[in-house]
Every structure is written in structure tokens, then in C-alpha cells.
Symmetry: C2
Subunit: 381 residues, 2 copies
């Protein structure tokens, strides 16, 4: 199998990640932050090391402001639902994933908040203008993705943040497709809260994510044991425990830490360069196949290393099923981002998404392109 | 180190669990339920196998009614917050953990619900009487733990359920200390919703839990991508996805599945018998040490295999720190269960909790008892 579905979850994982997860079950086997014995403290120390590593990697405001979650979705729900109050208005981009849209829509349906969607266009000035126009007096929060999970657009976070802050709103970033893929710097880009998955660009296992924030007063999503202030019947105020009710995923944390170390050792810009070159090769090949439409319009947009396309009038799931038959794993459909398809006109078919890794080789690309060629001339149906 | 803190997290994990977690990173490395390619389907299949295994083990109402969470706390928050509506009244026991108390207290402080606590006494009839007296016309829900995480009391779930149902209320069970330790049967015991951790009695890794329920109409705690109904801006209604926004912890699921198989192969009653005998030996030894108070009052109460005690007037955390110095890992303090200490009069010291596993040996017990003896005569301070 040629795996080109790294935007869903990265594969293969580095050997160091696999070993770290395995070893954690032996070496970090006690519950951190609960008991006071040495084994528990040892586990708490590695968890702290991972917090610190994440904080450093994303230039956050402190290791204690990194709380671990099950995934990026839980981090986003924690951030959005924990920050918003009745009457608030939120601005989101047209490229947001359902992990942002669904919590907001639910709050809207219940009459608690309202939100507006600004269209991300091919022209940066127009996009920023759309963003500004989406604000209302009640706008307290903007939520944008760092990278579109469907089309790969990299959003101009620093500029969006500047505008948001000038209007008294905070900027929360969905790092699902950005973290570990493109450089993300909370301080330089003015990100008030960053939600990340461990299992995509950061090369960690599935089941771990994190929320990094600038000491925001979040109401927790999950209330429960924190190993602290047992007689406080409400959730303790201290971070990171406030957002970590219940036992955290220690094997996931250990794997994520090694994933981060892997990225650091390779260099994020070096990985990005390799993956971008691979995407460029794929695009070059796809462009030469009649009937293929690639969703990489020219303009001011910078793209992360993923490519969405369609073949003739075929539904993207048909094409991805055919590629699967040929031994190539990609994702078809809507990628849980309905607004993106409405915005870019791909609602009827969805898109076939290719998301390579730095280890994708020339041979893989040729096999992919040959299959697409056959699908385009209906030789493979 | 002699590890007697299995109630916090079980250790060591069976080799089959460690291998399953490691192998999952290689063999089940795609995101389940997202893409349609073979690798993703293969992962989805093992996840389904785990749902089915849990459903069978707890005699639930169907594999699709098993949703995976990060831990038992998240499962309890999902259940409690997803079920309750404004004006509801809840009945909980005096032995509940903060994973039950904190979400309820938060809802109470916000004026959404109210709750009453019934005292679990040494006499079953009195306990049931207290339970009945705690009901109000608005009582829609009762939440009780299967086993006290502080004192080990096993609650009479079947009788509590019968009473709850006769009054039109549902019974949700916190299986944190019961799942995999004592037999729990959703049908026989009339449990409407069971929340479980994977990393305690079920021998799985930290970071995985589950909610099993009888097709209850829960409002989700986490909204987000489910890989289904992308254009539905609200969370899809179908279980298990409805309660599984975002990527689940696949390595955790694979580990939990093997943990379950391990318990099944050994037989839960056989493990319980071994652990009970170990506790009996510990209690026998502790009883012979002057100054030791063991919290195992005689009465109608049946106990799970854990023992809480104190030494002289020492704070439990002092004693557990001394035991740690001697190479024995136990937990002191309040165990995130404040009501239990108020109810049983241990608020000033907390308790030292010993929670052995079936692999705890005679030698371990002797070392523990010798240390407690030294602490009692202040030889070790």
C-alpha cells in the first residue's frame, strides 16, 4: 500500500515514537499527579517534559499553559465552549472543519451565541477585507484554521490576529493541519489559543492532542479528579490540571514528545521543503492528465503539502475507491469541512485529497499518476 | 519498587497489552471511519471488535452503544451533562468521586440542576432507605459508583437500579473501580449507562475509557468531525459516532481489547478471588499492628480488593511518603473523593490506600507490613 493519507493521520510513525509508546507502558506506568510515590513522580516528570517541549516548539506562554486532550477536536471544544459567553459573536473562516463549526452551530441553535463566516479567497487583501467585514460589536472571538484540511491554503495568521486584537477579539487557531507541518509561532503570530492533534504533523500516536493558551480563563469541558484540591467540589483554577479532568493519555504524551523531537531533529522547514517538492511533482503530473481538475488556484495563497483534485465528473469517493483498488490510500469525500466545499464549488463531488509525507518516493508518485491516468480514460472502472 | 497502587492505574500491564499497543502503531495506523481505503477499514474493524468485546463483557445493549472516550471521567461527564436538563434532580451516593461530584456541583452552582447525597452505611437496608429518602419528584437520574475508590465498598447496584427505575429515574454507574475487578452486568443489574476506564481493572493503557448505554438520547460533550454526514452542521445522531467527535485513541483501544482478553482468559472471578485473598492477608497483618486503623467495618458491606488505613494520628500522605521511601508505592490523601471522607470521618488525615494486583506476592506483603510496623513505632520517621 502507498499511503498518501497523512492529513488524516501520519504513517508510518518514526521508530522512536513507536518505542516511546511501548516503553511508556513499562517505564512510565504510574498515574501522574495522583499518588506521591517515585513512580508516579517519574511519570509526571516526563509529562512535564512534553508540556515544555510543546510550549517551546510553538513559542507559547509557559509549560503550565499546555493541557493534554484526547485530540484536536476536544481541544477546540474546550477552547470555544470554555471561552464563549451568552451574547458573544464569533468570526470563523470558510475553511473551518466541523470541529469548529459543529460546536459553534450547536451554541447558535441554542440561542447562546451567533457566528459569521468570512470567505477565504485567492486574494489576500480580499480575504482580510472579508474578515474585517464579518466583525460585529459583539465579536469576542475569531477561530481560524492554520491550514485548510481540504485545499491546503495557509491562512495569514499574523495579519488576522492583528485585526482581531485591534477589534478587541481573541484569535484561536485550529492547528490540525498546521502543527508540525508549517512553522506556527504563538507569540510572533499573535495566537491566543492553539489547538493541536498529536497524530498528524507531529508524528505522534492517535489519541493525544493539546491546548496551548495565553492564560485564558476557560471554563473546563470536563470536570473531575485532578489529584489536587480534593475538597474543592468545583474544578481547581490552576493550569494545566483545570483542563485535565481524569487520567491523561501517558503513552500518547510519550509518543508525542518523541514525535516532536523527530520533527525538531529533521527541521520543520526541511520536512516542509521535501513535502512541498513531492506535491509539486504530483501537481505537475496531474496537470498533464486530461479530465483532472486540481484545486490549487493561483493567487496570493500559500499552500501546505496536500493536494485536492477530481477526475471528470466522478465523485471523489469513487476515485479514491479506485485508487485504493490500485493500492494507493487517499481520502475522498468532504473531509468534515462542509463550508470549504460550498466556498470553492466542490459540494457535489467532494475532493480526492492526496497528503504525502517526506518519505513518499518517486515510484509512489508514478504509481499514483498512472492510476489517475487510467481512471481518467475509464480504463480502470 | 513494590507497586500497590493499582486503583490509580494497574501495573504491570500484561505483555499482550504492551504488544497490542505497539503493533497498533504499525498494523492499525490509519484513521478509522474517516477514509475508505483498506488500511482505514482494517483499523475500523479492530475498533469494532473492541466495541463488541466490551459490550459482551458488560452485557450491554449493542456494540454501537459503546463509544470510546479518553478516560472514565470524560465518559461520566458525557453521560451526566449529556442527559440532564434544567430543573432535574440527581441522587448520588456519599462515595462518589469528583468525576461525578464536580460536574454536578458545577451544574448546581449555575442553577441548572440540584442533587442530593445519600449516605452509604454499614447496613444495606439503611443504605437503601437513605437512597429512597433522597428522591424528589424531579429526580431523573441516580449516579453511583460500583466500588468506592477509597474504602472498597461494593454498592448493591441491582437493588439501587430497581428502586431508581420504580421512581422513573435512570441509574448511571461509575465503573472506575469496578470494571474488570468485580462482575458488572448491565442487563442483570439494570444499569442504564456504564462509564469505564481502560487503564485500571481492565489492564489497558492510560488514555482510554468508554461509555456504554441503553440507547439514551445524549447531547454530546464534544462536537466535531465524525467522518459521517459532513454537511450536517450539528453532531450526527447515530451512535457510536455521536459521542466520538475527533480521532479516537486507536492504540488505546487495541491495548484495552487485549486487556479485556487477558481478564477473560484468567476469569474475572478467579482474579477477584486471588486479589481478595491478598487483601485478607494484608488486613490480617495490619490488624496486628498497634496504632493502625483499617477502614473495613463489618456489616452487610462486600469489599473489592483494596484496603484503606491510617497509622496513629499521622496524615495518610506522610505514611505513604514513608512507604515510598521503603520502596512501596501506595496512594495517600483523599483520592479525589471528598464526600467519602466526610461520610466516614477521615477528613483530617485522608487514608493510605493499598490496591494490590493478582501478582502481588507474599514477600511484597511482608515488606509492606514490616514498613507499617516501623512507622507505627516511629522507627522509620
Amino acid at each position: 500500500m502507498i499511503y498518501l493519507d497523512n492529513a488524516a493521520t501520519s504513517y508510518p510513525k518514526p521508530a522512536s515514537v513507536i518505542n516511546a509508546v511501548k516503553n511508556s507502558l513499562v517505564c512510565y506506568g504510574a498515574n501522574p499527579g495522583r499518588s506521591g510515590h517515585d513512580f508516579s513522580v517519574k511519570t509526571a516528570n516526563i509529562v512535564y517534559e512534553a508540556r515544555k517541549a510543546l510550549n517551546d516548539f510553538f513559542n507559547g506562554d509557559g509549560a503550565e499553559l499546555v493541557s493534554f486532550t484526547q485530540n484536536c477536536t476536544q481541544a477546540l471544544n474546550t477552547a470555544v465552549k470554555g471561552f464563549l459567553k451568552k451574547g458573544d459573536h464569533v468570526v470563523i473562516s470558510s475553511l473551518e472543519h466541523n470541529s469548529v463549526v459543529r460546536p459553534l452551530e450547536t451554541l447558535k441553535v441554542r440561542g447562546i451565541i451567533d457566528y459569521s463566516v468570512f470567505d477565504v479567497t485567492l486574494n489576500k487583501e480580499t480575504t482580510l477585507c472579508n474578515f474585517i467585514n464579518a466583525f460585529m460589536p459583539e465579536t469576542r472571538l475569531c477561530v481560524v484554521t492554520a491550514v485548510s484540511n481540504v485545499f491546503g491554503d495557509i491562512l495569514p495568521l499574523a495579519q488576522l490576529s492583528e485585526i482581531a486584537h485591534s477589534k478587541g477579539a481573541k484569535l484561536f487557531v485550529d492547528g490540525a493541519q498546521g502543527a508540525g507541518i508549517i512553522p506556527v509561532d504563538m507569540k510572533k503570530q499573535g495566537i491566543d489559543c492553539l489547538c493541536i492533534p498529536g497524530h498528524k504533523g507531529l508524528s505522534g500516536p492517535m489519541g493525544i492532542g493539546a491546548i496551548l493558551h495565553k492564560n485564558i480563563d476557560f471554563e473546563p469541558l470536563v470536570y473531575g479528579g485532578t489529584g489536587s484540591e480534593s475538597f474543592n467540589l468545583l474544578q481547581p483554577r490552576d493550569y494545566p490540571e483545570r483542563l485535565e479532568g481524569g487520567t491523561i493519555n501517558v503513552p500518547g504524551v510519550c509518543g508525542l514528545l518523541q514525535g516532536l523531537r523527530f520533527i525538531e531533529a529533521k527541521g520543520i522547514n526541511s520536512i516542509l521543503k521535501s513535502e512541498t517538492e513531492i506535491c509539486d511533482e504530483i501537481i505537475y503530473g496531474l496537470k498533464r492528465i486530461e479530465g483532472v481538475e486540481i484545486y490549487r488556484p493561483k493567487g496570493d495563497i500559500k499552500y501546505a503539502p496536500l493536494v485536492s483534485f477530481n477526475v471528470n465528473a466522478l465523485h471523489s469517493e469513487t476515485v479514491s475507491a479506485l485508487l485504493n483498488k490500485g493500492g494507493v490510500a487517499v481520502r475522498g469525500g468532504y473531509h468534515c469541512a462542509p463550508l470549504a466545499h460550498i466556498s470553492r464549488g466542490t459540494k457535489s463531488t467532494g475532493t480526492v485529497r492526496i497528503s504525502p509525507s517526506a518519505s513518499t518516493c518517486k515510484k509512489d508518485i508514478n504509481i499514483l499518476l498512472n492510476l489517475v491516468r487510467k481512471i481518467a480514460i475509464k480504463e480502470f472502472i
